[in-house]
């Protein structure tokens, strides 16, 4: 095969353009890729016996809830698995009620109603010495909506106004 000038130039400018395109994509990727890789860490939470049955305690530092669901301690992410709103705990009904689209979870973070695809995500909990420690680096994906290990009945009226 003969590579004449015309053949060479026709290929060469395309190759240069492709190279430039590749460079642009790579540069854009470096420009746009996620930066604040959430540095998960351990948070010490104090004595486990302080968390009474049926209560949810907010831990601001980790943006999470520590709940005691019928004697089982859990650490639940405040972030709604549906679209990321912060899910508050409703003391009167004893459930988590998301203000955005009405997803409701029981105190163990399991699905009760609403558009959420799964229960609330959680974090690994452990006891070191006599202190409870949560590791926000290890996320436990929320349970499927069919899972029902905890009590889902409402203790009282829901917190969402209106109706």
């Amino acid at each position: 095969m003969v590579i004449n000038r015309r053949y060479f130039l026709r290929r060469a400018w395309k190759a240069c353009t492709a190279f430039l395109g590749g460079a642009a994509v790579w540069t854009s990727w470096e420009m746009l890729k996620a930066r604040d890789v959430a540095a998960g860490g351990k948070i010490t939470l104090g004595n486990p016996v302080d968390y009474k049955d049926g209560t949810a305690t907010y831990v601001r530092e980790g943006r999470l809830w520590v709940v005691n669901a019928g004697g089982h301690l859990r650490a639940l992410s405040q972030k709604c698995p549906h679209l990321g709103c912060r899910v508050p705990f409703c003391d009167s009904s004893g459930r988590f009620e998301c203000p955005c689209h009405g997803s409701v979870f029981n105190i163990g973070g399991e699905y009760i109603q609403g558009p959420t695809p799964r229960g609330m995500d959680g974090y690994a909990l452990s006891v070191e010495g006599d202190a409870l420690v949560v590791d926000t680096g290890s996320v436990i994906t929320g349970p499927e909506n069919s899972v029902q290990n905890f009590d889902s009945t409402a203790k009282g009226p829901s917190c969402a106004a209106g109706g």
């Binding site: 604040d36 549906h82 990321g84 203000p99 955005c100």
Partner: protein, 453 residues
């Protein structure tokens, strides 16, 4: 008649066309207008004849955007409701108020919210400019949507305008991008949570959802990186993209001729296709119309034309007929947004707080229909498949709907399908906007309104 369209005269010829100075003492105004300086700026002869008007259009770069003459029907309100033009005017208003805001705004999570407060208390007309920017933004989204609906019902996306419809969909997407990125900038509770909900939608894209979301907001959570990113998109990337697309869009509107039914000239959709000429009932007329337009541009047409075939001339000069209307509509649009800005203040809630979601957390109004659908259906279906499907079909509509007819009675399927989607979208938006309260519970807006703008 159309015989008056000359090619561009050279300078000498132009001077010869200049009306002789009126006898008697010349006023200062006349002296200025006949002086060299004035005539170096406005080169066309100041001649109020059809020939003079045509030359004015030819020699003015701004008027050159317009054709010299347009079919008289284009002037009627019912032709387009001026929606595309109003959208363009709103964009100009947004550019000027937006640049004003840039003088006072720093895209940083520690100062953005304070800048908004200072704008209200410490800057003359600052709050007004912000209000006008915000209401114009909402109006622009609304007007672009109405424009799209008008073009659909008129069937104006059909041959030869298929690609201009695609460009229009691009403009629509960029407009939404503007509004969404702008929404975050005040950095209050409304912005923070509306954008949180909006960007988390992307999570539901199969396989690459999380990656896309991270690219969009630069991490797990909305934060400084997101704010800076949205700001750069809002004031640099999107304006350039919109200007380029808009330029091509308008250029094509002008080149394709206006999509208007003209007396005795046949359906506008058939003008481009010589193939149609043999089959359509009014072949000669269709070609003749095209011919007329070519001559307007000073191009020699390949078709031969005889006197009998020439249709009645139904065109009028763009200047003054169309331009006067455009100036009036532009002033009217400006008056409306200024009045809105005086009457209603742009909202500013508490500073963004990741630890407290306001109730209810609503997306911006043009996404609230999506949010409403999300409360009923699986997020993959309601949040991704449905909107992406509708957008894709709409974008490529001219290549899917190959029916050449433009009259409603001959395109029932397309009209019914489009109308159903439209009604669902409107109902979902109205319900989500006005009839939803805390916990997304159904409420009646006349008792307690949670409408967020």
């Amino acid at each position: 008649m159309t015989e008056l369209l000359p090619s561009e005269p050279d300078a000498e010829e132009r001077d010869a066309l200049q009306p002789a100075a009126t006898p008697g003492p010349r006023s200062r105004r006349d002296r200025i207008r006949q002086g060299e300086a004035w005539r170096s700026v406005f080169r066309h002869p100041n001649l109020d004849t059809p020939r003079g008007r045509a030359l004015q259009s030819f020699s003015n770069v701004f008027l050159h955007v317009y054709p010299v003459k347009v079919p008289a029907r284009v002037l009627r309100m019912r032709y387009s409701f001026r929606l595309g033009f109003i959208a363009t005017v709103l964009f100009s208003i947004l550019v000027s108020t937006g640049v004003y805001l840039m003088f006072f705004y720093t895209p940083s999570v520690t100062s953005a919210y304070g800048d908004m407060q200072k704008l209200r208390t410490g800057v003359g007309f600052g709050q007004l400019m912000r209000n006008v920017h915000r209401w114009s933004a909402h109006l622009m989204v609304l007007v672009v949507v109405l424009h799209l609906i008008r073009v659909f019902y008129a069937g104006a996306y059909k041959r030869p305008r298929q690609f201009n419809w695609v460009l229009g969909m691009g403009l629509f997407a960029i407009t939404l991008g503007f509004s969404f990125t702008g929404y975050l900038l005040p950095w209050d509770q409304l912005s923070y949570w509306a954008v949180t909900v909006g960007t988390n939608l992307v999570n539901y894209v199969p396989f690459i959802g999380t990656l896309l979301r991270d690219l969009l907001i630069g991490g797990e959570q909305i934060g400084q990186i997101t704010l800076l990113r949205f700001y750069a998109l809002h004031v640099a990337v999107l304006p350039v993209a919109l200007c380029v697309l808009l330029m091509v869009h308008i250029w094509r509107v002008r080149k394709d001729g206006f999509a208007v039914h003209r007396g005795g000239v046949g359906a506008f959709a058939a003008t481009d296709a010589p193939a149609n000429a043999t089959s359509s009932p009014e072949p000669v007329m269709a070609l003749t119309k095209d011919h007329t337009r070519s001559r307007l541009l000073g191009v020699v047409d390949r078709e031969v034309e005889t006197a009998e075939e020439r249709p009645v001339d139904d065109t009028v000069f763009t200047w003054p007929h169309m331009l006067v209307r455009h100036v009036v509509v532009a002033l009217g649009t400006a008056a409306v947004v200024i009045a809105l800005g005086v009457a209603f203040a742009a909202p500013l809630r508490g500073v963004a707080n990741p630890d407290s979601t306001p109730e209810p957390a609503k997306a911006p109004w043009y996404f609230v229909g999506l949010q409403e659908m999300l409360s009923h259906f699986d997020p993959l279906v309601a949040g991704i498949l449905l909107p992406a499907g509708v957008l894709l079909v709409l974008t490529f509509l001219p290549y899917i709907d190959r029916n050449p007819a433009t009259e409603a009675r001959n395109r029932k399927v397309a009209i019914v399908a489009f109308s159903i989607i439209l009604i669902i979208a409107v109902v979902a938006t109205v319900v989500g906007l006005a009839f939803r309260g805390p916990g997304w519970k159904f409420i009646t807006p006349w008792n307690h309104s949670y409408i967020e703008m």
